[in-house]
C-alpha cells in the first residue's frame, strides 16, 4: 500500500499553492454544507420556539425577540401531535417487526436450509426488484380494500401498512447475503449437538446476525417514518394517521408557530436515529452499496 493517499499526493500537499487552494476549498465546502445541510434544520428548531409574528416579519433574524416554548406544548397537546406521534411509532414498530420477521426467516430458509425449490423462490423475489412501485399502487390498494382470505377490508387499520411492508426484496437479499457469509462449521457443530432447525435459527443464526438485523431495523424504522403516499391512501381516518400524513392537513388549521413546532417534533426521531447510527448511514449500507456485498 502506498500509504493512504487520495487524488493529491504527498508531493502535491507540499506545494504551497495546492495546499492553500485545497484548504480554502474545504473551508468554503464546510461552510456551504453547514448552511445547506444544517441550516434549514436549525432554522426549524429556532422557529419552533419563535412567535409567529417574528417568524413572518424577520424570518432570518438570528435571535428571536421572544422565546415561546409554549409552541411545543400547544402542538403536542392541543393539536394532538402526541396522538399522531404515537401512531407513527406504532406504524414504524409494526413495519419493523414484519420486515425483520420476513427477512430473517426467509434468509435462514433460503441461505442456510436451502431447499431445492429455493432457487425459484429467490428468482421470484429478485424479479420484484425490477417492478417499479407505481405498478403496484392501485392493485395493492384494491388488495387492501378487499384482502384475500379475510373477507374484511384492512382500510383504516395499521395492518394495511404493516403487512405489505414485508414484501421487501431488498431486505431479503441483504439478509441472505449476510447469512451466506456465516461459517457453515458452526451450523454443523450445532447440529452435532442435536440442534434442530428452529433451535439453530433462534440460538445460533440470530445471535450471530445482530449487525445485519440492526441495519434492516434502522432502515425499516426510518423508511416507515418517512412514508407518505401509502399511509395516506390506506388510512383516511385522521385519528389513526401518522405525522407524515397529518401534517399537510394540519397546516390549514393551526397557527404558523405551532405548525413549525409540530414539524420540529416530527423530525426529532429520524435525526436522533441518524446521529446514533451515523456510521450505518454513511457507509452506504442500504443505499445500494450493500448489494455489492
Amino acid at each position: 500500500m502506498s500509504a493512504d493517499r487520495g487524488i493529491l499526493s504527498p508531493a502535491d500537499w507540499r506545494r504551497p499553492r495546492v495546499r492553500i487552494a485545497t484548504r480554502a476549498t474545504h473551508v468554503i465546502l464546510l461552510v456551504s454544507l453547514f448552511v445547506v445541510g444544517l441550516g434549514p434544520i436549525l432554522w426549524l428548531a429556532k422557529s419552533a420556539i419563535t412567535p409567529t409574528q417574528d417568524t413572518l416579519r424577520t424570518p432570518l433574524s438570528l435571535w428571536p425577540n421572544g422565546m415561546d416554548w409554549e409552541n411545543l406544548i400547544t402542538a403536542w397537546t392541543r393539536v394532538e401531535i402526541d396522538k399522531f406521534f404515537l401512531n407513527t411509532v406504532l406504524i414504524a414498530a409494526g413495519v419493523w417487526a414484519v420486515q425483520v420477521l420476513v427477512a430473517t426467516t426467509a434468509g435462514y430458509a433460503l441461505s442456510v436450509l436451502r431447499p431445492r425449490y429455493g432457487k425459484v423462490v429467490v428468482a421470484l423475489v429478485l424479479a420484484t426488484l425490477f417492478v417499479p412501485s407505481i405498478v403496484l399502487l392501485v392493485p395493492l390498494y384494491l388488495t387492501i380494500v378487499d384482502p384475500p382470505l379475510l373477507g374484511q377490508s384492512l382500510i383504516n387499520t395499521f395492518w394495511a401498512v404493516w403487512l405489505p411492508a414485508g414484501a421487501n426484496a431488498f431486505n431479503v437479499l441483504l439478509v441472505m447475503r449476510f447469512f451466506d457469509s456465516l461459517p457453515r462449521e458452526v451450523f454443523e457443530a450445532a447440529r452435532m449437538d442435536g440442534a434442530g432447525n428452529y433451535r439453530l435459527f433462534w440460538s445460533v443464526v440470530l445471535p450471530m446476525s445482530k449487525p445485519i438485523i440492526g441495519v434492516v431495523s434502522v432502515f425499516a424504522v426510518i423508511g416507515a417514518w418517512k412514508d407518505f403516499l401509502w399511509p395516506m391512501l390506506v388510512l383516511p381516518d385522521p385519528a389513526i394517521q401518522p405525522l407524515s400524513v397529518r401534517l399537510p392537513a394540519l397546516q390549514q388549521f393551526i397557527e404558523l408557530d405551532v405548525f413549525l413546532a409540530a414539524l420540529a417534533i416530527s423530525t426529532i426521531i429520524p435525526i436522533a436515529l441518524f446521529l446514533v447510527f451515523q456510521r450505518l448511514f454513511l457507509n452506504g449500507v442500504g443505499m445500494g452499496g450493500a448489494v455489492k456485498g
Partner: protein
C-alpha cells in the same frame, strides 16, 4: 432428487450429499416414501420458515403485479363487477389532453433534475474525498437533508418559498441584490423550484455513494499518473472519473427512473398547479384512481401505470445495452 436419509448425511447441507447414493436411492423410492422423507428431513420446518416470505410476496407483490396486468383491461370501480373493456382504458388515457402536459412536465422535471442533481453531488464528493480530518462531519452535514422526513422538509420549503419580499428565500436573495421571485406561484418558476427542493433532499445520498467509490480508487493509479506527469486536474479527469464510470452510469438511470415517478413534490407543493405547470404522470395516475368523487377510475390508473412502467423498462434496457461497452472497460 429425493432427500437422502439423515443417517447418511444431514440433508440440510447441500454440499454433503454424494450424487451416486442419491440416484440409487431415488430409483427405489415411490412418491409416498419421498413425501415421508421430506417430512423427516426437515422439509416441513424449511417451509414453515419460508411462510412469512411467501405470504407477504404472494399477496403484496406477485398478486398485485398480476392484477395490474389484468386490471388495465377492465373497468373496476369497486361498485359494479369488473368488466373487460380491452384497450378502452388505454385509449381513454391516451386521449386525455392532460397526459401530454403531464409527460412534458415529467420530462422537464427529469431534465432539470439531471442538470442540477447529477453534477453537484459529483463535484462535492470529489472535493470531499480530499478532506483529511473530520471527513465524517462533512458527510454527516451533507446527508442530513436525506434524514429529514420528506413531508416535513417539503412543508418547510413551502414556507421558505413564500413569494412575498419577506419570504425566507426572497430575503436571502435581497442580500445579494436579487429581486423577489414568485417561486411556486408562477408557471415558469414552479417546476424549477420543485427540482431545487428535490435536489437538496436527495443529493446527500448520492454524495455518499460517490464518496465511497472515490475512496475506493486504487492509489497506485494516481501514482502511475504522476509518474506520467499528470497534475491535479488531469488526475481527477483521467483517473478518478473513469474509475467512477460504473457508479455514474447506475446513478444516472436510477435518477431517471426516480424522477419519472415524482409525486411527493408536486403533490405537497403545488398540487399540480399553477395551471397544470407541475402536473406529472404519477400525479395524473393518482388523480385517476383516488381523486374522483364518482369512485376511482382504477382501470385508467392501472393502464397509465403499466405504460409508464413499460416505457421505463424499455428505456433501461436500451440504456444498459448502449452503455455495456463503457461500463466494463
Amino acid at each position: 432428487m429425493t432427500q437422502i436419509s439423515p443417517v447418511t448425511a444431514p440433508p440440510h447441507t447441500p454440499e454433503a450429499a454424494p450424487s451416486i447414493v442419491r440416484t440409487v436411492d431415488s430409483r427405489r423410492t415411490g412418491p409416498l416414501r419421498r413425501v415421508g422423507e421430506w417430512f423427516r428431513g426437515g422439509g416441513v420446518s424449511t417451509f414453515v420458515f419460508l411462510l412469512p416470505l411467501l405470504f407477504s410476496f404472494i399477496f403484496f407483490s406477485w398478486k398485485p403485479i398480476v392484477d395490474s396486468a389484468i386490471m388495465a383491461f377492465q373497468t373496476t370501480n369497486l361498485i359494479s363487477a369488473p368488466e373487460f373493456v380491452w384497450f378502452d382504458n388505454f385509449s381513454r388515457v391516451l386521449q386525455d389532453p392532460l397526459l401530454g402536459t403531464a409527460v412534458v412536465n415529467t420530462l422537464y422535471f427529469a431534465v432539470l433534475a439531471l442538470l442540477l442533481g447529477y453534477p453537484i453531488p459529483l463535484v462535492v464528493a470529489v472535493l470531499m474525498s480530499e478532506v483529511r480530518r473530520r471527513r465524517g462531519l462533512y458527510s454527516a452535514l451533507a446527508y442530513l437533508p436525506v434524514v429529514v422526513p420528506p413531508v416535513v422538509s417539503a412543508l418547510l420549503w413551502k414556507f421558505f418559498y413564500d413569494a412575498s419580499p419577506t419570504g425566507v428565500f426572497n430575503t436571502i436573495l435581497s442580500w445579494f441584490g436579487g429581486g423577489p421571485l414568485p417561486w411556486l406561484q408562477d408557471q415558469a418558476s414552479a417546476m424549477p423550484s420543485l427540482v431545487l427542493f428535490a435536489t437538496w433532499s436527495a443529493a446527500g445520498g448520492t454524495i455518499i455513494i460517490y464518496l465511497a467509490a472515490i475512496v475506493g480508487v486504487a492509489p497506485e493509479l494516481y501514482d502511475a499518473a504522476e509518474v506520467d506527469g499528470a497534475g491535479v486536474w488531469r488526475k481527477v479527469w483521467h483517473v478518478t472519473m473513469p474509475q467512477l464510470r460504473g457508479v455514474l452510469l447506475v446513478t444516472f438511470i436510477l435518477q431517471i427512473i426516480g424522477t419519472a415517478q415524482v409525486f411527493l413534490e408536486p403533490f405537497l407543493f403545488t398540487g399540480g398547479g399553477p395551471a397544470n405547470s407541475t402536473m406529472t404522470v404519477l400525479l395524473l395516475i393518482y388523480k385517476y384512481a383516488f381523486q374522483n368523487s364518482l369512485g376511482g377510475d382504477y382501470g385508467a390508473a392501472t393502464a397509465l401505470s403499466l405504460m409508464l412502467a413499460i416505457v421505463l423498462a424499455v428505456f433501461s434496457m436500451i440504456y444498459f445495452r448502449l452503455t455495456r461497452s463503457w461500463s466494463t472497460s
